[in-house]
Symmetry: C2
Subunit: 229 residues, 2 copies
């Protein structure tokens, strides 16, 4: 437990669960809860307790037997690990339906990701105000990124324009991209991308609905057998 920590790489799966723990711990703190067991945190997060303990061990946090983890300190540790001790301004490319939706979505700013700017290629959209932010011309992207120290870009263009948008973001100096367009972006090594595709999520649900219907029609119910082939 020295004062210097070696920063080691945390597995991606753990990184993706840390925001979930953080949100739960925040809610617990709001309710006056001061310490929490891995069992309880696991239950609220919908994962198993051994996984919670393993995940938190990457932060150097081990809890105390019979007491659990101190909520406030764990919140501090996760926020520090996730880089949430300061704001990360984001820039949105694309002021269509989706870009408008995102610019007007309070969730970004509230959670440390204020919208520093929104740009569009369409001159008709430039100058309009979305969610309190004026749409600017795509040419202004480098200036927004530099003056507001933006490292995260959001691609909210149609699929056909997304690759161009990503390249402009990278040229402007952005190093992480959240992509809402239904395409896989080609980006240089070292640029992080995450993809959100709402239709994919719905198609996964329709798979289960479809299965439910055909199973109900053809079988007498009961647990599905596991495939042996």
């Amino acid at each position: 437990m020295g004062t210097e920590r070696t920063r080691r790489r945390i597995p991606d799966a753990t990184v993706s669960r840390l925001p979930v723990y953080l949100r739960i711990l925040g809610e617990q703190a709001d309710e006056g809860v001061e310490s929490i067991s891995s069992d309880r945190l696991a239950e609220l997060a919908g994962v198993n307790a051994a996984k919670v303990r393993k995940d938190l061990s990457y932060l150097g946090s081990y809890g105390t037997r019979g007491v659990g983890y101190e909520v406030a300190y764990l919140v501090y540790q996760i926020r520090r690990e996730l880089g949430l001790t300061h704001d990360w301004p984001v820039v949105i490319v694309g002021a269509g339906n989706l870009g408008q939706a995102l610019a007007g979505y309070n969730g970004f700013g509230e959670r440390g990701f204020p919208v520093a700017g929104i740009v569009d290629v369409d001159p008709a959209k430039v100058g309009t105000v979305l969610g309190g932010v004026r749409v600017r011309a795509i040419d202004e992207l480098p200036q927004i990124v530099q003056s507001r120290r933006v490292s995260i870009g959001v691609v909210a263009t149609p699929a056909s324009a997304a690759q161009d948008a990503a390249e402009l973001l990278v040229q402007a100096g952005v190093t992480s991209i959240l992509n809402f367009a239904p395409v896989v972006l080609n980006v240089p090594a070292g640029i992080e991308t995450r993809k959100v595709d709402l239709a994919v999520e719905l198609q996964i649900l329709s798979y289960h609905e479809q299965r439910r219907t055909t199973t109900a029609a053809g079988a007498a119910g009961g647990a599905p057998k596991s495939a042996s082939a």
Copy 2:
């Protein structure tokens, strides 16, 4: 290759990749491509070719050596497997910023998930028109679900109202829920849920940005060592 297929459960990870393949195949078909190799499909989807072949084998599709897969037939097979041979109307609960954004997002309807209705508990919002759909009172939920045969509900409420919204959806007869609220929903067995949390995706990016900054400041670069503890 009989005419009857036994429906077997496809692994969740495969189900989550099928929509990605479907989108790519649609684009290839639009460009006049008639057959595609697993290597090419893998490259476009950002996964490895062995995984593509394994995924498609669950559909009973094996391709032809030296030729690949017939695009049109593969599109048909995936759409059938995902239940996309007909529309799945969805109902949105919550007409705040996010619900408005979703109701106005063309992507839902275009991809087979038309918005059958949007409801809110707030009388001030009822009657307003969002994305062409009039906001209705929450009491009308069962009627919308039944008359429009809705099986997928979308929770777009604040976190504090999400569990109530999910329960109302389930009572109304919905069996799948797409949840945008930053909470884990408790639902009865047999109800499918998928979660989209935009802040989580951003927090994962900020982890990488944070790591980039501290690594650049403290080290001379090079590949990170794997943790040995």
